[in-house]
């Protein structure tokens, strides 16, 4: 298998003599949009409604994708909306399979989130989307620890579900307690599947909390819900305030080392978020920038070979990929924080720490 893949890559490389300055993939993708390694991409095969406002997208990745994500990791997905590619990251909810054909991500439509709403209700099967490689260290260790606790809120269930499904698929469920908060039973993603798994495994205990009627999880109650929580390795995923409370609680108990946290939303700096440390990933340099120093100036001061042109936001020569973090456009105050966003470094300043691909 591996050797035939290498031979195929060689053939395509040789083919580039025929297609220069393009690559054979630039032509092959006209036959099948997935036949290209130029950029990772996938085709939406199915959109499965999970709740009223959440859906699972089953995506068939194209060439260059390796099905070796670790359970709990997220992928970037880029969708062209009104002509422009918008990027977001979502946890992969399907377990990794070496010979897999598809991956699944589960998305909840956020009230302010135009893209998430589009993904849940506006995406037709057959749509081609772009993908970024799996990332994140909120993952299931291999082998899993003997005793685990999951504290999840809302759509925070998705990375946890990938972990639970992986253990189910292997048929070896350790001692797992899952505490799942959701406003109402109807909004609980994967409700039926969790019922089934709970029945199938004595080792799996699921606590359901409906916060609209029963209120939020009080961490003091953890001693009654899961008396041995201090002995368990814990994964928490959900809204920011919930994670803040959990982190505090574990720190107070001196157990921060056994807690893994996954945040969905970017946490802004305490000072309102002007300036920060810019990391230039490829060149391995960093620069401190205040709220008035552009990314371009900071990079040049740090000795990074920054592309530039007009230095006034017109020519787009200085455009770089923002890998992580948030920047502000000095011209109009617009902020950009999408991973893989293309930004003009000559007119933008960092808002908190950020990372560029150069």
């Amino acid at each position: 298998m591996a050797s035939s893949t290498i031979a195929w890559d060689r053939i395509r490389d040789a083919g580039s003599k025929l297609t220069t300055p393009l690559h054979p993939d630039d032509y092959l993708r006209l036959l099948n949009p997935l036949w290209s390694q130029r950029e990772l991409r996938g085709r939406v095969e199915q959109v499965i409604p999970e709740t009223d406002d959440a859906a699972t997208l089953v995506i068939r990745p194209g060439w260059g994708w390796r099905y070796d994500h670790r359970p709990g990791q997220y992928v970037g997905i880029g969708v062209q909306v009104n002509g422009k590619f918008q990027w977001r990251s979502y946890s992969v909810s399907s377990p990794p399979r070496r010979r897999g054909r598809t991956i699944s991500i589960t998305v909840r439509a956020m009230p302010e989130g135009k893209l998430s709403a589009h993904l849940v209700s506006g995406l037709e099967p057959g749509t081609i989307v772009r993908l970024a490689l799996p990332a994140g260290d909120f993952v299931l260790p291999d082998p899993p620890p003997a005793k685990m606790l999951f504290l999840v809120g809302g759509s925070g269930i998705t990375p946890v579900m990938a972990m639970v499904r992986t253990m189910d698929r292997r048929g070896s469920m350790p001692d797992v307690v899952l505490h799942y908060s959701s406003p109402t039973p109807e909004r609980m993603i994967f409700r039926d599947e969790l019922d089934r798994l709970e029945n199938a495994y004595d080792e799996l205990t699921v606590h359901r909390l409906h916060t609209d009627t029963d209120g939020m999880l009080e961490l003091a109650d953890l001693d009654t819900i899961c008396p041995d929580w201090r002995e368990r390795e814990t994964w928490a995923c959900g809204p920011g305030p919930m994670l803040d409370a959990i982190s505090e609680h574990f720190e107070a108990a001196g157990l921060e080392d056994s807690l893994h946290v996954e945040r969905f939303s970017l946490k802004l700096g305490e000072d309102g978020g002007e300036g920060g440390t810019i990391t230039f990933r490829t060149s391995g340099r960093t620069a401190e920038a205040d709220g008035a120093t552009t990314v371009l100036e900071a990079g040049e001061a740090a000795g990074v070979g920054m592309p530039f042109g007009c230095r006034m936001g017109i020519c787009h020569t200085c455009t770089l990929t923002l890998v992580d973090g948030r920047i502000r456009d000095l011209r109009n105050g617009d902020e950009f924080d999408q991973p893989n966003e293309q930004v003009q470094t000559c007119v933008t300043v960092p808002v908190g720490d950020c990372t560029f691909d150069i």
Binding site: L18, L30, G83, F85, Q86, F308, C315, Q342
Partner: protein, 402 residues
């Protein structure tokens, strides 16, 4: 006559010029805000058609030349499709993508930073010589190297020398070998001749050109002919014909941009303290459009809308027709000339200027409105001598490695 100050050349007051600038800014903002799915679909469709034509042309030549019965039609169709594909790629796709017209899509495969086009010049050098030098310093004598491309004498202000008597021949050579002329453009042969070129930079540029040019030559003149077996000669001729057709077409379209009679030249005094609005005005007075149908405009990379392109080099080319309506209305309102005409007339004027200026000024008459100002010997400026400030789209940068 070269104009030292556009504002004084026209009858407009300072406030009127600034007002014109604001109105042009408003047109830009309106188009930027309305870019949408339809625009993205346009460039994607153009790329699909172009790659389809290129593939069909190659396959037709490879297969069709093998049988005696299909040989002639296959040769004609194959060379035709290939030439058309090269024209579309260079003009409507490559040139416009490299200006950043489609960067707003956030699509890494259609982006000015990494587009490489199907011609001998490396994209990086094109973006410097064209986006920066030509678009920022448009028609300013001694600053814009596109005035005659360092080969031809295209303005009466350029000092005459007996070598220009050969201009009709140089012109024909430039037209036929256009892609190679363009490939050498950013090297600045004049600086090399005078020994002022940085040798490290020159080597780096030459390496880039050699690598790109080698791949282009291998593809069209070695690999595809070799794959054609006994018909290698026919394939080679068809590929050469396609390249020649693209060269002649690109040459003609580009000469219609700034050399017809209405397009004016400027002196470097104009660059001093030039405002954004005055920059707009210089672009309008220095460029010339030509008229034609939708197909002609697409095949010429929308450069029939040269005025609109120079005002808004980084707005999507499929929007130029609607922008042109608004720009013409502004020209009427402010009583500014809007130079346009049929393609044959515009090129005819450029060709006539080439012929005339091969002779000394005293032997020919000027076709521009004013009498000539005294001749000055102007050399090419290096980047260090140029003001670095607003460039309305000119993306360029030098990579650290070759």
């Amino acid at each position: 006559m070269a104009i030292a100050d556009v504002k004084e050349y026209t009858h407009l007051s300072e406030e009127e010029v600034e007002q014109l600038g604001r109105e042009l800014d408003a047109i830009r903002a309106e188009v930027e805000e309305s870019r949408c799915d339809a625009d993205a679909a346009y460039i994607n469709r153009m790329i699909t058609v172009q790659r389809g034509l290129a593939a069909a042309g190659r396959v037709t030549l490879l297969a069709g030349l093998q049988s005696k019965r299909t040989r002639t039609p296959a040769w004609i169709a194959g060379a035709g499709m290939l030439g058309l594909a090269k024209i579309l790629e260079n003009m409507e796709i490559g040139h416009n993508v490299m200006h950043g017209q489609w960067d707003w899509m956030n699509d890494p495969e259609i982006h000015s930073s990494n587009w490489e086009w199907d011609t001998a010049q490396p994209a990086e050098q094109w973006k410097h010589s064209h986006n920066y030098i030509h678009h920022q310093f448009t028609n300013v004598l001694g600053f814009d190297n596109d005035i005659g491309y360092g080969v031809l004498r295209m303005a009466r202000e350029q000092k005459w020398h007996p070598v220009y008597l050969g201009q009709p021949v140089f012109n024909a050579l430039l037209a036929g070998l256009f892609q190679w002329g363009v490939a050498l453009h950013d090297l600045d042969l004049e600086a090399i001749r005078k020994g002022t070129k940085d040798p490290v930079e020159m080597k780096r540029q030459l390496r880039q050109i050699a690598r790109k040019g080698r791949n282009q030559v291998l593809k069209d003149y070695v690999v595809y002919p070799a794959l054609s077996g006994r018909q290698w000669k026919a394939t080679l001729k068809a590929n050469a014909t396609a390249n020649l057709a693209r060269n002649l077409w690109a040459y003609m379209i580009i000469f219609c941009g700034h050399f017809p009679d209405g397009a004016l030249h400027f002196t470097e005094e104009e660059l001093e303290d030039e405002t954004r609005a005055e920059w707009y005005l210089r672009q309008m007075l220095g460029s010339a459009n030509f008229e034609g149908g939708r197909l002609l405009h697409i095949l010429s990379g929308s450069l029939g809308f040269q005025i609109e392109h120079h005002l808004f080099p980084d707005l999507p080319s499929n929007r130029y027709p609607e922008i042109a309506v608004k720009v013409q209305a502004l020209c009427e309102k402010y009583d500014i000339p809007y130079t346009t005409g049929p393609l044959h007339r515009q090129y005819g004027q450029a060709l006539r200027t080439i012929m005339k200026l091969s002779l000394p000024n005293s032997m020919t008459s000027s076709d521009k409105p004013e009498p000539p100002s005294p001749s000055v010997d102007r050399r090419r400026r290096t980047d260090d001598e140029r003001p670095r400030r607003r460039t309305e789209t000119g993306g360029y940068y030098r990579s650290q490695t070759a």
